[in-house]
């Protein structure tokens, strides 16, 4: 929800909103993951098994984004929100 917040309320462009959102998510995850770890809910091996390959993905994803128009980024983001909404309703 950080990306649409930055775009719709703070007037950020799509690229700036998604980049700044990643910085915010880094803070959230870096604080929340150890907190969940204290409750014994985090499986470090499984987390790294998914998270390390994802680093390659994020390099590709950010590079790909530079080739898209900001309008396309907004429309893709709207699609992501609709998918999540449908998942929640079902």
């Amino acid at each position: 929800m950080i990306v649409p917040l930055l775009i719709l309320w703070f007037g950020y462009g799509e690229r700036l909103a998604t980049g700044t959102s990643l910085a915010a998510i880094l803070v959230i995850a870096a604080l929340a993951a150890p907190a969940q770890g204290l409750y014994g809910n985090v499986d470090v091996v499984k987390g790294l098994l998914v998270g390390i390959p994802a680093v390659g993905g994020v390099v590709v994803g950010t590079a790909l984004q530079q080739r898209l128009s900001e309008r396309a980024v907004s429309l893709l983001f709207a699609l992501l929100l609709i998918v999540i909404a449908v998942e929640l309703i079902l």
Binding site: I2, V3, P4, I7, L8, R15, L16, T18, G19, T20, S21, L22, A23, A24, L26, V27, I28, A29, A30, L31, A33, Q36, G37, Y39, N41, V42, D43, V44, K46, G47, L49, V50, G51, I52, P53, A54, V55, G57, V58, V59, V60, G61, T62, A63, L64, Q65, Q66, E70, R71, S74, L75, F77, A78, L80, L81, I82, I84, A85, L88, I89
Partner: protein
Amino acid sequence: MSELLAVLFGVAGGVVGGLLGVGGGILFVPALVIFLDESQLGAEATSLLAIIPVAAVGTWRQHRYGNVRLDEGLAIGVLSVVGVAAGVVVANTVSERLLELLFAALLIVVAARLVHRALQPREQ
């Protein structure tokens, strides 16, 4: 085999994360549940760990592209953590199904506004 699928979902989650500025949890959580036998709670907690390297490298790449306001991003992150703590208190007073439906409605409204805005003529 299931480990390989989890890795592929990890890569795909990273691509979506970089492309749209999200953590990638939308794909990490199902990968952990379906392929790595995590409970829903365990998967959501574990996905937070997977998000850390994604967000760190994604921020670094976008910073190189000139697309990050670091001060504001860090401030939003800290405020979100405070917001989440407050949200937990509220969430415990309302039924989970009602929360799901309210959040779904909010997402649809936001998606409609993004589409409406994207389709307006603008200077690129």
